[in-house]
């Protein structure tokens, strides 16, 4: 009979292969050139849309960080869209009503994609971007990002995201994960392998949005749906690793699981639905042949490995308890094998697992360095190593089950 360990090897192989691909691509010329810094003096007109639904607490700070952007004021427009908030969002927005750079739109609640479309319809700027109302940008972020659009093939550009003032293990874990994402996004962008243009500070060529149509519901992941539509149309999605944006993230486990369930169900529904043709499509090179298949395998393997590990853990626990039943605790609780290299529990599975984790850590360090993200990552590493592998399967299982049973959950 095949051992559970043997079941894990194909997935470990794929994980190591994918991480190797990312590291090799990171060292390749296109990525090196991209992170060396874009040179460009063009300052096209830019509109940043801030869709808000009950964001009264943070929208003012978000707007202030946008107003502080180093960009010609006559070329930068900020559009605050109140998507039918029921809190003090209208009041928080009102303080910017007299600012000539700021436009305020109020509409009935219709979802984030409708708020974005309302903002896009209200501007003629060449480049339109989005900043979630719980995110803040560094003042040079737009200057770092805009030159990416000098490449005519590029229809959208993403920024380098990390967690805004992380507190507690859950947020520190997400910070390490987001910074890992900086390396991923920067590297995969160099081979046009991105399939999400995240809400915090992603920008689009207005003409392409007009050509493809506005934002859609996209199974509650309008940013992923738009990115997939851009890829499907044959355009490229770039990344500006020095354009730093900080976003607020869930600080509770239940909040995190809810958010990630939404992202994962959105991914599965988009990828197995309208954008099925991208998967395995050699016309889409890295995205079709590698990134999307690996992302799908990661969901399946995450659930499988977690289930196998849980099964083995309880099986061994029960067997261990049965064997030790009736033996005095004074003996049971003390280790009895001598401390010798002979008993070092080294196995292929363990070493490959550690190699995968170390590769992930190195990508976090690389992400921090290339984006020059400030802050200490000690807690991030600790919580990432200890918690991440245990928590991820929870939303993978929940999301897969939602998709299989056709369950739809609310946004919050």
């Amino acid at each position: 009979m095949m051992s559970p360990e043997a079941l894990a090897y194909p997935f470990l192989f794929i994980a190591i292969f994918f991480e190797s691909f990312v590291l090799v691509t990171f060292l390749s010329k296109p990525a090196r050139t991209a992170r060396a810094g874009q040179s460009g003096t063009a300052t096209p007109s830019v509109a940043v849309i801030v869709p808000c639904y009950n964001e009264g607490e943070t929208v003012a700070k978000t707007c202030e960080s946008l107003l502080a952007l180093e960009y010609p004021k006559d070329k930068l427009e900020i559009i605050l869209v109140d998507d039918g908030s029921t809190d003090n969002t209208p009041r928080a927005m009102a303080q910017f009503a007299t600012n000539p750079q700021v436009k305020i739109i109020r509409k009935e609640n219709g979802g984030k994609h409708t708020a974005l479309n309302a903002g896009i319809a209200a501007t003629t700027a060449e480049i339109v971007g989005c900043l979630d109302a719980d995110s803040f940008v560094e003042s040079n972020a737009l200057r770092e990002l805009v030159p990416c659009f000098e490449d005519e093939h590029i229809a959208a550009v993403t920024a380098a995201m990390s967690v805004h003032q992380p507190k507690g293990l859950i947020q520190h874990m997400q910070n390490a994960e987001y910074i890992f994402g900086i390396t991923m996004r920067h590297t995969l962008a160099s081979v046009n392998g991105l399939y999400v243009t995240p809400g915090p500070f992603s920008f689009y060529r207005h003409s392409v949005i007009n050509e493809l149509g506005g934002f859609r519901y996209g199974h509650q992941t309008e940013d992923m749906e738009m990115a997939l539509r851009i890829q499907q149309a044959g355009y490229g999605i770039g990344n500006a690793p020095h354009a730093r944006v900080y976003t607020k993230t869930p600080n509770t486990l239940s909040g995190l699981i809810k958010q990630r369930t939404r992202w994962t169900t959105g991914f599965i529904r988009n990828i197995t639905g309208e954008y099925r043709n991208l998967v395995g499509n050699h016309r889409h090179d890295a995205l079709g042949m590698l990134v999307l298949p690996c992302a799908l395998i990661a969901i399946f393997s995450g659930i499988l490995l977690f289930s196998v590990t849980l099964f083995m853990f309880f099986k061994n626990l029960i067997a261990g308890l049965e064997i030790r039943a009736g033996i005095p605790l004074s003996y049971v609780l003390v280790p009895h094998s001598s401390f010798s290299w002979f008993y070092f529990p080294v196995s292929t599975f363990l070493i490959l697992g550690i190699a995968t984790l170390l590769a992930s850590f190195s990508m976090v360090i690389i992400g921090k360095r290339i984006s020059k993200t400030p802050g200490n990552l000690t807690f991030g590493f600790l919580s990432y190593a200890l918690l991440y592998g245990l928590i991820v399967p929870l939303w993978l299982i929940r999301a897969t089950s939602d998709v299989v049973f056709g369950k739809h959950r609310g946004w919050r």
Partner: protein, 220 residues
């Protein structure tokens, strides 16, 4: 060749090289484990022969060699633990493990015989347990019995526990089974010549021991 194809090929090479290195390193470590077991067995084999020879030489005062016999039993226990660990890592059907297990069983039988001879010559009454197990999947209570015996051996150092794989394909083993007349109903125990089969609990098992044998912990 596109940059993606080139990087995929390089990544594949790295992955295969990494996996190959890890497999080689783990195999190397396992080979080293087996080699260490072999060298420990060689040493114990020499010690056993030395004790045997000592015993023959000191026919008039054989009890003088009792101390070294106890040391040897301790070494044998350590070897047994290591062998058991190697078996769990490499599998019970690994040819090198089987070979080492045969040598180990022979050493155990030699030690058992010497202990009996010393007891007869010196008038001591050690508690000797012969434990027959199987790891062919047909003995559900063997793990439990093995753990209980490890506990007893640690708690009462005067106990002499000899564990034998009932299914080991070894002439001396078959002879031991024939001589002791132990049935293939495992786990099986022979405690100072008294037979018992099956294992339910430590307290039930302790009843098989001679009265007072487990009362104190003495260092012979």
């Amino acid at each position: 060749m596109s940059i993606v194809t080139r990087n995929v090929l390089i990544a594949l090479l790295i992955t295969v090289a990494l996996l190959g290195t890890v497999f080689y390193a783990v195999n190397y470590l396992n080979r080293e484990r087996v080699a260490e077991l072999g060298s420990i067995e060689d040493q114990i084999s020499i010690d056993t022969l030395s004790l045997d020879t000592q015993f023959s030489l000191l026919e008039a005062a054989p009890c003088d060699s009792a101390a070294s016999s106890t040391t040897l039993t301790g070494e044998l226990t350590d070897l047994g633990n290591r062998l058991s660990y190697a078996e769990s890592q490499l599998g019970s059907d690994n040819p090198q493990v089987v070979q080492l297990k045969k040598q180990y069983s022979l050493l155990e039988i030699r030690d058992y015989l010497i202990t009996k001879q010393l007891a007869a010559a010196c008038g001591t009454k050690p508690v000797i347990v012969l434990y027959f197990y199987s790891n062919a999947g047909d003995c559900s209570e063997c793990d439990k019995a093995g753990y209980a015996l490890s506990y007893l051996r640690t708690t009462y150092p005067s106990l002499r526990v000899y564990s034998f794989d009932y299914n080991l394909d070894l002439g001396a083993m078959k002879t031991l089974i024939a001589v002791t007349k132990v049935k293939n109903d495992l786990p099986a125990f022979v405690v100072n010549g008294k037979y018992s089969y099956g294992f339910t609990s430590l307290s039930d098992f302790e009843k098989q021991f001679p009265k007072g044998a487990l009362a104190t912990s003495t260092n012979l």
